[in-house]
Amino acid sequence: VSPEPTEDLLSAYLDGELEPAERVAVEARLTASPEWRAVLEEIRAARAALRGAPAREAPPGFWDDVLHTGPGASRSVPATVRPARGRTPWLAAGAAAAAVLVAVAFVPKEQRVKPDVAAVSAQHGAQLSDAGDPIGALAQMARPVRFR
């Protein structure tokens, strides 16, 4: 006795991808089941929509570029490392990373800013009057800049 056909055979039925025995079983089920017939019409419509949609053409000039320069030549980097369009270009991102590394390598460990902001801040803060001094208050907020 053949097992009951499962519903996912309906697409294979439409595509002519069933064995003869499976096809007979599906057709028998379709005759008996309005639900199966409804599903068949659903997938028939989806299949027809995609098969009937016009083929997408490449933008003008795309194939001329590919044939003239070779595949991949008009791309900045291979797909395996290339970010999606509209994002930071790979080369720019690499240059930025290199700049950061250089900056970190050459930045002194200790602050060498003159005048000594911390000392000026402490001195000026000490001279701040009780009545309030807006500039002095700002100076109090100054803190030494530390580089990591």
Partner: protein, 170 residues
């Protein structure tokens, strides 16, 4: 063409439209489709000596599918690069009534974009690349029963997405 093996230029000239259409239906936009096609042609150029004369389109569809799936995996490792099938991705809204109406092709593509790639790939290979189920199984590495099931479920999801856009006819 020597010994039935085409050059990559011949592949591009004679099958470029096919390759582009499959890439576009998988990726859902022209920018990514162009990148997929170029990467696929690079692999074609590098693999032509291993090509066994037979179904050239099946071979090309397999290559562009592999390029697409590689890119899907790469972007999954980099979550800032949204994928068409990201669960959190917000699909582009359907145009308002006073905007230029989208074509039927756009509606179909929007429905296709809503499918997770494990369903989108076999549906595209079946209904766009016109591959047999055996060819799709070979291209995706999935058993034939899985291919059947995914094509069927993918079509049902696609139909639901089309109906949600107001497309009720084929």
């Amino acid at each position: 063409m020597a010994d039935g093996i085409p050059t990559w230029e011949e592949v591009a000239r004679e099958h470029g439209r096919f390759l582009y259409n499959v890439a576009y239906r998988l990726a859902g936009n022209d920018d990514d489709a162009q990148d997929l096609v170029q990467e696929a042609l690079l692999r074609v150029r590098g693999g032509l000596e291993r090509y066994q004369p037979g179904s050239l389109r099946g071979w090309l569809a397999r290559i562009v599918t592999n390029v697409f799936l590689d890119e899907v995996r790469r972007r999954r490792r980099r979550p800032t690069d949204a994928l068409p099938d990201d669960p959190g991705r917000v699909l582009p809204p359907a145009p308002a009534a006073d905007e230029t109406p989208t074509s039927f092709s756009d509606e179909v593509q929007r429905a296709l974009d809503s499918l997770p790639e494990e369903f989108r790939v076999p549906v595209v290979l079946c209904d766009v690349a016109d591959l047999s189920y055996d060819q799709i199984a070979a291209a995706t590495g999935a058993p034939i029963g899985t291919v059947r099931s995914r094509i069927h479920r993918g079509r049902r999801m696609m139909r639901a997405a089309l109906v949600a856009q107001g497309v009720t006819g084929p």
